[in-house]
Symmetry: C2
Subunit: 234 residues, 2 copies
């Protein structure tokens, strides 16, 4: 039986071997939810980069620049970290360079995996179906918050496990715990998340609408996958 494992933060990635594994990176609030939305709205590719400066260099070469630092927009960039800014005609066929606090790091740290997929509640079912069809073990890498675990990415891991539990064995306690938390909260994720630290940070920014959106399940079929330095449609 294939195994599914959960790495609760990139700071624990050293404990995992991912060379024979498909990694699903989740940064639910909001990087990976934005990426999935962007592909659903027709984007051609997304290059995750480490710095704002690097993002600007791609912008000079014709890319749209998207950035978020500490959950805030960057001056002079076309896009920020709200999924609603990706729901425009401007996106169709475009290439985007993006840098975020946690999601970009999680993606680039996973490069040695068989495949790196971008996960969110929005494309949960598409991802689950794809993983069932493949022969590899799976690891969910939760992007967390500056190295710390967070609730929303852990709940995504639990949600994916809930869809895969008949086809995959749960490798370790992190997977069991994520699944238990999801089962405990799934009937009302918005209220279950109400006291989470990132929610408190985001609510200060007045983006409850983003939160509600990012917790919706199975809106899109698109699965972004890392090819070389860019995310493209699987």
């Amino acid at each position: 039986m294939k195994h599914i494992d959960v790495c609760l933060t990139p700071d624990l990635l050293h404990l995992h071997t991912i060379e024979n594994t498909i990694v699903v990176v989740a940064d639910v609030f909001r990087a990976t939810s934005c990426m999935v939305t962007a592909f659903a709205y027709g984007v051609n590719s997304i290059v995750p980069v480490a710095t704002i400066e690097e993002c600007r260099q791609w912008q000079e070469r014709g890319y749209l620049a998207a950035a978020e630092r500490n959950a805030r927009k960057v001056e002079g960039f076309e896009l920020d970290n709200s999924p609603f800014t990706y729901m425009t005609e401007q996106i169709r066929g475009a290439n985007i360079a993006v840098t975020t606090t946690n999601g970009t790091l999680a993606i680039t740290k996973s490069r040695s995996a068989v495949k790196v997929l971008v996960g969110s509640f929005l494309n949960l079912d598409a991802i689950a179906r794809y993983l069932k069809s493949e022969r590899y073990d799976v690891m969910v890498l939760c992007a967390g918050w500056k190295g710390r675990v967070n609730m929303e990415d852990t709940l995504f891991a639990g949600a994916l496990i809930d869809r895969l539990k008949d086809s995959f064995a749960l490798a370790e306690d992190s997977a069991i715990m994520a699944h238990r938390l999801y089962c405990d909260g799934k009937d009302n994720l918005v209220s279950y998340m109400a006291n989470a630290s990132h929610i408190r940070r985001l609510q200060k920014l007045g983006i409850q609408r983003d939160i509600t959106y990012c917790l919706q399940h199975d809106l899109y079929e698109e699965i972004p996958v890392l090819r070389g330095n860019a995310l493209v449609r699987l």
Copy 2:
């Protein structure tokens, strides 16, 4: 309001500042449960050491030697990692040198804290009462399993939070998640733990009796505290 935080594994300790904090180390299966039991049965002090060899050196100086490596006993040592081996008259007034896979490391890594306490379900209420009486923030350090998070230590963190939630604010998502898991499982911790990875490892060793014992709440009043290199009664 004072804060309570949870570090889910020693491999995430770099994310926390503990200099103004009381750290409660939990290695429920079975190191810290053994330590608490040992003090309840009259031990004088326990020196946690890093290696089997170091343990032997203390033994030559008259200490009882206790060790566990990969959940198995060490040849020539008086004690192992089963709490039942500590329930003897031989313990009274004795000094013990102990080395374990995860618990010792967690204790020695916490040295810079205001105080390092040894926690387990067995002395949960005594610890909760003491922490309420102090003015410091609290961090629960889960010993985990070779750097990975585990269910039992996370549940202990959640149990302690459950006793302290009216006097302490929950600092981050790790604390919220631990508390949610405990509330989800508290009505029957033994069955809630049934699929956990460490349980599966321990059951291979035939020590279900230890597991059931270590999940009992509030048996003892003793709180081991680190003073210099040794744990003594608070």
